[in-house]
Amino acid sequence: MTTVDSSTTTQGPAPASAWRSLGDRVRHGETVRIFGALVILCAAFSILRPHAFPTTANIVNIASDASVLLVLAVGGTYVILTAGIDLSVSGVLVFAGVISAKIMAALGGQSVGVLLLSLAAGLVAGLAWGLINGVLVAKARIPALIVTLGTMGASQGAALLITNGVDVRDVPFNLVLSVGSGKVAGVPWLVVIALAVAVVGGVILSQTRFGRYTYAAGSNAEALRRTGVASARHLIKVYAVAGLLAGLAGYLSLARFATTTLGGHATDNLSTIAAVVIGGTSLFGGRGTMIGTVIGVFIPTVLQNGFVVLGVQAFWQQVAVGVVLIAAVYLDQMRRAARQRP
């Protein structure tokens, strides 16, 4: 029961400042800074290559490159907010892609039914790996780093076993032409889907009890448990969501590349974690936003694209992302230390 006088609870709204938390404002400030970095990056590449970088075609290209990573990073944001980590997404993505491709090949044809059925199969495959991760982390209490390192190898290996190590290439043209390279009002379907996932993920994170428990689990799991919340079950759900989204990412990758790209995703897990952390989510859990993750996904993608456009060896992108990632974690630690003074 609440002890508050009911006559006051039905009265008008509290002042806006009361329900927009300082944390939001601080994180907002952080988000603004990351966004500023992205803008500066884009401006620099635009000035250096005004006819190649800031073109519609190139922007569409960048957005398409970012979309699969964004879907993974939405799940990664939830996992990292609980102070967990999910290394398995790269393997799960490939595994789910293989399952979808095999279903397509087995059913044959180009019908919408086949496409949807194979999508469902991929999502279920991703969800299954996510549930395995969640149960092992939350119930068996094995560190997430180890659990997901194990399932990363297992899912990648399973994908290779199913395909004998040979990419499945008979992806229906309809899928490639629609989801893979089709556009709606000039925006690629891939980008529309990824942004929709990010928006839904962001709204759930900031507005619902599921999101609040995610923050609380990373902030103080014991406190959450003591209030009577089934915190282990919540953790399982979070890993399940990450697995489900890895399944979706596998399907999108299939649509984009028209093949299962067995060997092409080995570093997707690290890219995902880098994007989430660069976007301001704390590796120690409890702090972060989805909008930060969206911006965080674009920083490595723009770097990669910009280096290609500049004619710099694209390998520099990996070096740059590594440096930015370490800097982002360092800044997070400094913030934490500054705040934790009694």
Partner: protein
């Protein structure tokens, strides 16, 4: 005198060979601050765990308003209007006070959005502001994450959470152990305020002068049983220490 608000009778609890409680009694009356004291190992924590539903007694009875009750879980204790402020506070440091006060007991929006799990943050912020005002807690910034608050203010948030949901009793485990002088006084003031609002407070403390200062009554545990009861106004620190260290199982009348 009316029925005790909360009463424990003959509580026994063993952990293997260790008899933590050997027929312990404990009484809380309406609108009082009662201090529960005892040396290390006297059974205070075990008794508090049992009375807040976190642990189950082997033997003995718990009565609320004179009627026997069972508390198989902290949930059950909370349903009886009994809340606990843990020594580590059990706050989610990254969330603001309102989110902490309502953690696990969120208010949802009305209609479809509410059924989908959407939170009514506005209502929770408003109820939190009212609760803080009622208890006289002034937070530096009511919308900052709890981690940004001082130790005393964090303690105040934890107490306010308990006070918001408790209708009968709040257990507080060493609420001032980690605080400075000024903050300690603020928290004790808050404890009195909670009592004045009609909620009984059980204070577990090692600080004898503080116990005599703030409590109305003192109950002393020794070797798993109640050995003495004092009215705080009539007791001295020496009385308390004597009872804690050499009290017999025969009780002294309050």
């Amino acid at each position: 005198m009316s029925e005790p608000l909360l009463e424990a009778r003959g509580i026994q609890k063993s952990f293997g060979q260790v008899h933590a409680l050997r027929g312990a009694d404990f009484t809380v009356h309406e609108g009082e601050i009662v201090a529960l004291i005892g040396d290390n190992g006297a059974g205070k924590s075990t008794l508090v765990k049992i009375l807040s539903g976190a642990d189950q007694p082997d033997e003995g009875q718990i009565l609320v308003d004179g009627g026997p009750v069972s508390m198989p879980s902290p949930h059950a204790a909370r349903d009886l209007g009994i809340e606990t402020v843990y020594q580590d506070l059990a706050l989610a440091a990254d969330l603001d006070p309102a989110a902490n006060l309502f953690l696990g007991r969120e208010i949802f929006r009305s209609g479809l959005l509410g059924r989908l799990g959407f939170l009514d943050k506005r209502a929770m912020a408003r109820d939190t502001a009212n609760e803080m005002a009622r208890l006289g807690v002034r937070l530096k910034d009511a919308t900052a994450p709890v981690a940004a608050l001082s130790g005393g203010q964090r303690q105040s948030v934890a107490v306010a959470r308990a006070a918001m949901w408790a209708s009968r009793v709040i257990f507080m485990d060493e609420p001032t152990a980690a605080l400075g002088v000024v903050q300690t006084e603020q928290v004790l003031q808050l404890v009195r305020r909670v009592r004045d609002e009609g909620i009984a407070v059980v204070l577990i403390s090692h600080n004898m002068p503080q116990v005599l200062e703030v409590a109305d009554r003192v109950e002393v545990l020794r070797l798993g049983a109640r050995v003495a009861r004092f009215t705080a106004a009539d007791a001295t620190v020496d009385d308390l220490v004597a009872a804690m260290t050499s009290g017999t199982t025969e009780e002294r009348a309050a």
